[in-house]
């Protein structure tokens, strides 16, 4: 295995941190846009980015705290939720970000033409 591949594989959490920081920036910037410019796209983008961020954080951190005792404690419904919710939040969150970005772009265009 080449050194570059090894660096990327061994430092997976560093790259995950990049993604989490980026999503946090999207969410924070969207909230700023929504509050400052009252653009509805900002609200949508913020909601989507927060959903993706929560799901991403869970997927990154889950291997460190999910074990048999915890799965036994949360029961079958909890286990189903841990399996079903993260992909759902990733999917709906992505849709929210794209829809919000579209809304913000439309809003900017109408503001400029006004």
């Amino acid at each position: 295995m080449t050194t570059l591949l090894e660096i990327v594989i061994r430092n997976g959490s560093l790259f995950d941190a990049f993604g989490v920081i980026g999503l946090g920036l999207v969410a924070y910037a969207a909230i700023r846009l929504a509050r400052r410019e009252h653009s509805w796209g900002g609200h949508m983008m913020a909601a989507g980015a927060i959903a993706v961020l929560i799901a991403r954080l869970y997927l990154v951190l889950a291997p460190h705290f999910v074990n048999d005792n915890m799965l036994h404690a949360i029961g079958p419904i909890g286990i189903s939720l841990t399996i079903g919710l993260p992909p759902l939040m990733l999917t709906l969150g992505l849709a929210g970000v794209v829809w919000g970005l579209w809304g913000h772009e439309r809003w900017l265009k109408t503001e400029r033409n006004r």
């Binding site: 295995m1 594989i9 997976g12 999207v26 969207a30 700023r32 846009l33 992505l94 970000v97």
Partner: protein, 136 residues
């Protein structure tokens, strides 16, 4: 009739890759349109992030969902993982995370999160005069 290999149409398994492809391409197009009205670095970061995310969402993830690439199992010893799986995993990790980071930086600059004014977004109030403005 064999429906065992391909997921039935309109099932979650079949719709999700299509949804990801549509979202990836939409993200790229909208970011491109937003970038055309933004400052130089804002548009560069937005478009770079959106291109990486579009590649990830519309090509890489549907390939994973379609079973063309096998998922990387981190608990398996690296010597037992095939080179293809490892290489695609590295591409996915790099593309998706760098894509979100660059896109996030682009949106943050667009929202003026760092307190810097982007010269391109407000051309009429640009703090840098053109070189021959003082001659006019």
């Amino acid at each position: 009739m064999s429906v065992g290999i391909l997921p039935p149409l309109a099932s979650i398994a079949a719709v999700r890759p299509v949804f990801l492809i549509v979202m990836g391409i939409s993200l790229m197009v909208i970011a491109w349109r937003l970038a055309s009205t933004s400052g130089r670095w804002t548009s560069r970061l937005l478009v770079a992030g959106a291109l990486l995310l579009a590649f990830g969402y519309s090509i890489l993830l549907p390939m994973y969902e379609g079973g063309m690439i096998r998922f990387f199992a981190p608990d398996k010893p690296l010597s037992l993982v095939s080179a293809d799986t490892l290489a695609w995993h590295v591409v996915k990790v790099t593309v998706m995370n760098t894509g979100w980071l660059l896109f996030g930086l682009g949106v943050a600059l667009h929202a003026n999160l760092f307190g810097l004014s982007s010269p391109g977004s407000h051309p009429q109030t640009s703090p840098h005069p053109r070189p021959h403005d003082h001659l006019a």
